[in-house]
């Protein structure tokens, strides 16, 4: 029996949005690097009938990078979208889903990401720092210095670098390097690590052992370094604890 024709879906139809949200959740859930992405626009949708109560959906979507690292337990709806002047990053994804008896399943995804052009950002905000390569020497120097500064001051666990997530450099009027990086707690206290850092091992994979640091290293006119690291931590909601302070448990 040939499959019954399926009515065309519009990109802003509720069913299209549900498919796109399922796809975004799948993409974020299967990503181990960088930041969570959120839906910006459904570019196209095609529906191919497959059989009774079953059809395939092909989606093309534009996503935007948020400020939440993929390891962050913050729900996507509470994550802030990177603004244009922060040098936004866009993701383009092709997604294949199956809808069977009303249930959506993601079958395949293919995504590419790219930053907005530096010229566009500079045109709108001439003094804004621009994205730098993650292996830029100034970036890696800033991350190393920031993590050392944190570990030298904290009384908590010694933190190891997991990955650099983002870096921006501003060359004028001041020369400033901004970095963001994911960290993981080790089984050593920061004090114990001073004696034998090689003995420090990462704790078993657990969201509570991951964290995120932001740092600002001023190179000119006067050298300065500020770092802020927060472990995600296990959070038990209580009525008298504001949501945001439950999501992040500060260590500094």
């Amino acid at each position: 029996v040939p499959a019954a024709p399926v009515a065309p879906l519009g990109c802003d139809d509720p069913e299209s949005e549900a498919a796109a949200q399922a796809a975004v959740n799948y993409i974020n859930g299967h990503s181990h690097h960088g930041y969570k992405f959120t839906l910006n626009r459904i570019k196209n949708i095609r529906v191919i009938p497959q059989g009774p109560n079953s059809y395939i959906i092909f989606l093309e979507v534009d996503l935007l990078e948020t400020t939440c690292h993929v390891l962050s337990p913050t729900p996507l709806e509470n994550c802030t979208v990177r603004s244009f002047t922060e040098h936004a990053v866009e993701g383009d994804c092709d997604i294949k889903l199956q809808k069977l008896d009303g249930k959506l399943t993601v079958i395949a995804t293919k995504c590419h990401s790219h930053a907005d052009s530096s010229e566009d950002v500079a045109q709108l905000c001439p003094d804004c720092p621009l994205l730098a390569s993650l292996n830029n020497t100034e970036v890696t120097t800033a991350v190393t210095a920031a993590l050392s500064a944190h570990n030298s001051k904290t009384a908590d666990a010694y933190l190891q670098l997991l990955e650099i997530g983002r870096a921006k450099i501003q060359y004028g009027p001041a020369h400033i390097v901004y970095v963001e990086f994911a960290v993981a707690a080790t089984n050593c206290s920061a004090e114990a690590a001073k004696d034998n850092v090689e003995a420090c091992q990462l704790l078993p994979d657990d969201q509570s052992n991951f964290g995120f640091c932001t740092a600002t290293m001023v190179i000119r006119p006067k050298e300065d370094l500020k770092v802020d690291c927060q472990l995600y931590g296990h959070q038990v909601p209580t009525p008298d604890t504001p949501f945001l302070s439950r999501v992040f448990q500060p260590t500094t």
Partner: protein
Amino acid sequence: PVAKRAVAQLDKVPHPVGFVSPPLCPGKVRHFKI
């Protein structure tokens, strides 16, 4: 019995002058366009 679908009949209803059907895609931009 074979019946025509309602949507086919709707297609025959003339649109008011100046009416433009909204495009199905792309959808709305939720934040900003890069």
